[in-house]
Symmetry: C2
Subunit: 401 residues, 2 copies
């Protein structure tokens, strides 16, 4: 009899693995993976970078590095964040193994079993699983097109037993909902939180991927707007700006928190890959990231546009969906409390795959939505895939009647 | 007031960070880092590998991969382990972000606060910090030249409150002690454990680095010798066989345990770097690892020999040290309960650095030993560095009289 920890005993096999294997099957049109398309990666740029590295730097890439990160990358990233108005001098920066590790570390340093964590509903599945692995009590708050609903948040904050420790939000091209917080919502949220004894975990993995330059101002992180004493842990990542395979994210946090996070990371994996940090550093200092992001904004905008058109043309009455202004996702709400699992089954049978709504419900229940990622599917496939899903939906609607 | 978790509240700033910054100062002769020398890494081999990768495979390197690992690497590693007699078909293999992550994951799935973990004294600092981060009650057992002392282990196993959940050992070129378990000790240990309700965590990060081919048989993992029902989690790593900067290790564990470990890893960092997994895969299937290891065995043997000679020639009476037959380390025992911190201070002042003994004591107390790593220091520096440390020791011994 294996005596697992309470944390492990509560772990349940998730649907992610099965779905990802479906999502990468060549005979499937996939809107499932939250990832860039393979043919979009900056391979030529990285070839050039790799082959110009000095022998000395290559050797450093094979070696352990400091737990907080490869110092030249930290410096370049601080410069980059400083230009965005981020308080890099009063906070500590830590390179992490993807931003999921940053979220996991913040969870580790704050959450004891049954501690309450407030988060959006829907929310990023990786964060949900990290919080659950520390046996947090999840308290999901609905969102609208402009962000988390403040009246509901306020009510949650007022509950004192147990008093919430963390608020986790994804304000910029939300995963899965695709929404962008508006300026007012961010200001009001900061105002609301400033009297609270809570830590804000601000997850910003997609903010650079706005479709219109006019929206850039709206992607300004709350971490830059925080005049009070609210502790904000800001996480971001190279996953969507260079490639997830590098496994590089970062955490910007007040020193007292960052010191605990550094110790947690030391016991997790000592340091993130120096090899990929060396490459990311060059990508950043050679200004290849800005050029690459400019190209990606155009491509993702076009894919989103194609998907929105296909939805408009093919979906039956009664459905609604978010209109993304950046990022990777469209979130579709089904009518009449329909269940997205049935629709997924039919879609798969006909060659298209997406992620069902309950995956992103912190309580794993609400299943009347579905997430469509347009980021990794060429335009010519998008229309075909949406038609398959629309057909599955129509069949299901007829069946229900 | 930040409300840290109980785990974070117990985290103390460790000496590792300060020491590592000392260890990499160009004006210091360092025996501190448990790492290969920068000029030993297989840079030319990796250049060749990188530039022959197909565009398709390079793209895969930028992408997310399965949580358990890049499938071609898993397959190649299974073949490699099968040749060593490892039970790869009845166990599951997971690629981890260094073997430290593998150890951390096993700790996560078994340890609740105050659960008892038995481990060697001294022990690998990374494992100590991982166990402590789950608030384990550490129960250290002394070792001799042939392995963990079984009478003491037996007494620890008989204690029932709380009954120990994990036994963590490093039988092959132990870090920090440098010892190699003999065959009898492994057989007796397996015999002793087969009646126990415990999980064996077998850490094998250095086993391939034997100095004499005659010792190869002694590096045979206990994982290959387990005829009974004892659950063994076996961890190893590419860190010492290619380079730590890749951040790639692995875990081989019974399916029921591995499934929990996969879920834990999913919430930690989703997957390890696909980019470096692609490179490690080629290194393995192109047989570059065997050729590289053969060269490293000769170099490390020569460095160990040089250090042993220098110790013999320079150290005052009353000291003893282990005679490594592989790996990276020599463990020096000081006479008369001398304290290694004082000696370190004097050594640093004169330009040589090592790691004090208490770093490796699970309880952080015993400080009458020191660890010397010969792995990353050229031979011409080794003698000079040992002389500095011997001088510091002699001064301290005079002072004590």
């Amino acid at each position: 009899m294996l005596r697992f920890s309470a944390s492990a005993a509560s772990m349940r096999s998730s649907a992610i693995r099965e779905l990802m294997s479906l999502a990468t099957r060549p005979d499937m049109i996939s809107f499932a993976g939250g990832m860039p398309g393979n043919n979009l990666f900056p391979v030529a740029e990285m070839d050039e970078i790799y082959n110009k590295l000095s022998l000395e730097v290559k050797r450093i890439g094979f070696q352990y590095g400091p737990t907080t990160g490869y110092p030249p990358l930290l410096e370049a990233l601080q410069d980059y964040l400083r230009q965005k108005g981020m308080p890099v001098d009063s906070n500590n920066l830590i390179i992490t193994t993807g931003s999921l590790q940053a979220i996991n570390i913040v969870a580790k340093v704050f959450i004891d079993p049954n501690d309450r964590v407030i988060l959006e509903n829907p929310a990023f599945i990786g964060a949900i699983s990290a919080f659950k692995s520390y046996q947090a009590a999840l308290d999901p708050i609905p969102i609208d097109d402009d962000g988390i609903i403040l009246t509901e948040l306020q009510a949650a904050l007022q509950k004192k037993k147990p008093k919430a420790k963390l608020l986790y939000i994804t304000p910029y091209f939300h995963n899965p909902a695709g929404i962008l917080y508006n300026a007012q919502r961010k200001t009001d949220l900061l105002e609301l939180l400033k009297k609270e004894d809570i830590v804000l975990l601000e997850d910003d993995a997609y903010g650079e991927l706005y479709f219109n330059a006019a929206d850039k101002e709206l992607t300004r992180p709350m971490k830059t707007m925080n005049s009070g004493a609210l502790p904000i842990c800001y996480t971001s990542s190279f996953s969507k700006y260079i490639g997830p395979g590098l496994r590089l994210g970062w955490l910007l946090a007040p020193p007292e928190i960052a010191e605990k996070c550094e110790l947690a990371k030391q016991s997790f994996d000592a340091c993130s890959s120096t090899f990929t940090q060396v490459l990311a550093h060059e990508f950043l200092v050679q200004n290849k990231m800005q050029a690459y992001l400019e190209k990606m904004r155009v491509i993702y905008a076009r894919r989103a546009h194609t998907m929105l058109n296909a939805l408009q043309e093919n979906m039956p009455e009664g459905l609604t969906w978010t209109k993304p202004r950046g990022g990777f996702y469209i979130w579709v709400s089904l009518p009449d409390k329909m269940d997205s699992t049935e629709i997924l089954k039919k879609s798969i049978a006909n060659g298209a795959v997406f992620v069902i709504g309950s995956t992103f419900d912190p309580l794993g229940v609400k299943n009347d939505c579905l997430r469509l990622a347009f980021s990794h599917t060429p335009e010519e496939q998008i229309e075909k895939g949406i038609k398959i899903i629309a057909e599955a939906l129509k069949q299901q609607m007829v069946k229900k009647k």
